[in-house]
């Protein structure tokens, strides 16, 4: 601190040092200097403390992982192997989560494309679509849902074959959120579970979604496919709000 020693020695009265100090607060250069000194001092302390923290953490790690001791102690070694295996498993799970997230992105893109297609053809109702080979049907509730809410979507299935009967049995996936959150496939109910369609016959399927009360806010996608014909693909999308 500038002038600290001078003012300290002036013990005959505080009035003179008070005057000096008042002026020092007004002088812009000294104010900047004082501010810089304080901030620099704070920055140095912060850096020192962070460095000390890192060193201490490394020392703890060192104590926890003693290679020689591990080698000489078969039980500890086995424990270590088990722990490392868990870590490897975690990595695999992380990789799987990453793949799931990428799949989600693909689904999002498909969803957007289907959305823009449905905008072009306004006569197609949003919640009633007809499956045909190679297309993804997009189903979405009219409004975002709250945790614990239920909604039902209607899907019209049409057998465009002239002479063959078709059996459709839809298989469900979990709803996957944009992060790692998900809603289990038990939230989706399909009625009837199996549909038999005669040639040129049309039938309705009700898909009800019953959101668990602990559903986390966000966007989710689930995928339905026909067990007998994997080319029938249905994307269920929804938004959970507060």
């Amino acid at each position: 601190m500038p002038n600290r020693k001078n003012s300290k020695k002036n013990t005959s009265g505080a009035s003179q040092s008070k005057k000096d100090k008042n002026e020092s607060w007004i002088d812009p250069d000294r104010v900047v200097n004082k501010a810089q000194n304080i901030v620099n001092s704070a920055v140095n302390i912060l850096e020192e403390e962070i460095a000390a923290g890192i060193l201490a953490a490394k020392n703890i790690e060192k104590k926890l992982i003693d290679v020689d001791e591990l080698r000489s102690n078969p039980d500890a070694l086995m424990n270590r192997i088990r722990r490392d295996s868990h870590e490897v498993l975690d990595l695999v799970i992380d990789g799987f989560a990453s793949i799931t997230s990428q799949m989600n992105e693909v689904l999002e893109t498909l969803k957007n494309e289907t959305k823009s297609a449905s905008k072009k053809n306004k006569s197609t109702p949003k919640s009633a679509s007809k499956p045909s080979n190679g297309n993804v049907i997009f189903l979405e509730p009219e409004h975002p849902l709250k945790a614990g809410e239920t909604t039902t979507l209607n899907l019209s299935l049409f057998n465009d074959s002239e002479n063959e009967t078709s059996t459709i049995e839809l298989r469900k996936s979990d709803f996957l959120g944009s992060g790692s959150q998900k809603i289990g496939l038990r939230a989706i109910k399909i009625e009837p579970k199996t549909v038999q369609l005669k040639p040129q016959e049309e039938k309705d399927v009700n898909i009800s979604i019953n959101l668990p009360k602990n559903s986390i806010v966000g966007y989710y996608n689930a995928f339905l496919t026909d067990v007998n014909n994997p080319k029938i693909r249905i994307l269920l999308a929804l938004e959970v709000v507060d």
């Binding site: 040092s17 100090k21 304080i38 901030v39 001092s41 959150q181 806010v217």
Partner: protein, 342 residues
């Protein structure tokens, strides 16, 4: 955003956090000696500064309140646990306009209630696993582990200085002590945790260390000033209590470095007397000396410099983020610290 809007948002975040705290307190016995008391300090209505910073940092980074709620509950529970233990350690008489827990119950009961609050604060972190995913939940757990250890180290420094009646402390000693005792848990880590949640783990939390430190230091110094010049009803604690407790504030350290030898010896004697034997007359005399040597003005200016540096850090690390209420909220808090006239 103006100051009133900022305070109202802070109040809202505080109320949401309090609701969360209630949800995590078991409804079982022993209520009279434990669980009712666990809710005592939170129900008195603190500022909710720490959860507010965490939720706002999350919001500014694109997250939602619902994602930060468990971490906010942990921060506020830990803060209240620290307060109960601090009050025992400092022999404080009032907290949030009411008598401290150890004065209305026993010291032993108060310590145990603080212990339980520390334990209860862990459970929301466990729930972060389902809310945010395992990886992010683990990172937040380590953030909380760090803030607890730093706070205990900082508290140890301050208590040790009082035990040894240290009167040779410098401003650097003080800045180090409040970094550890206050800044990590009050500002640095709440901002880091909020940013991690809001960005889904993509942001480097180290970016916010300086911002949080400067904010936290300015906050602590201003809080210590209010203990000397504030109104008791607004401050919630006994005015001048820090002098009675012998707390090594920036003002006291400044005074010890500026006053005459005779005055220094008088202050050293005062600080060497057991807390309960110190008189208000002596405390008032020390307060007069702080005015005489402009220790309070010095502290006000120092806190203003630090708040200014915090604002610069805020612009560096938040300017690129989309404008939002939460971003404006954080900026207003810092501006409020800079412009504060007590």
């Amino acid at each position: 955003m103006d100051v009133l809007e900022m305070k109202s948002k802070l109040k809202y975040y505080g109320a949401e956090t309090l609701r969360g705290i209630h949800a995590f307190v078991p409804e079982k016995e022993p209520k009279k000696y434990l669980y009712d008391l666990v809710l005592d300090y939170p129900n008195r209505g603190g500022k909710g500064f720490r959860p507010g910073l965490c939720i706002a940092s999350c919001g500014a980074h694109g997250g939602q309140l619902s994602e930060a709620k468990f971490s906010a509950v942990t921060l506020e529970m830990l803060h209240n646990a620290f307060l109960i233990h601090d009050d025992v350690e400092d022999e404080s008489l009032s907290r949030r306009n009411k008598p401290t827990m150890h004065t209305t119950h026993s010291r032993a009961i108060a310590i145990n209630v603080g212990d339980m609050m520390n334990a209860l604060s862990l459970f929301p972190l466990w729930h972060n696993k389902t809310l945010l995913g395992e990886k992010l939940a683990q990172r937040i757990f380590l953030e909380v582990y760090h803030l607890i250890t730093e706070s205990a180290e900082g508290q140890a420094l301050e208590l040790g200085w009082r035990q040894d009646n240290r009167c040779d402390l410098s401003e650097s000693d003080y800045l180090r002590m409040i970094l550890k005792k206050t800044c990590w848990y009050t500002c640095i880590q709440p901002i880091r945790i909020g940013a991690l949640i809001g960005s889904k783990g993509s942001v480097n939390p180290d970016n916010f260390n300086r911002l949080g430190y400067f904010m936290g230091a300015a906050f602590q110094i201003q809080d210590d000033i209010l203990n000397l010049v504030g109104e008791e009803s607004a401050y919630g604690k006994e005015i001048g209590g820090d002098i009675i407790e012998g707390k090594r504030t920036l003002m006291l350290i400044h005074l010890l470095s500026e006053c005459s030898k005779k005055e220094k010896s008088l202050i050293e004697n005062y600080l060497g007397t057991p807390v309960l034997e110190r008189t208000m007359t002596d405390a008032k005399h020390i307060l007069e000396l702080m005015h005489k040597y402009e220790s309070i003005i010095h502290a006000k200016k120092t806190s203003q410099y630090l708040a200014g540096a915090a604002l610069k850090e805020f612009y560096t690390h938040f300017s690129h983020l989309k404008d939002s209420e939460d971003k404006a909220f954080l900026e207003t808090i810092i501006l409020y610290m800079i412009n504060r006239d007590y």
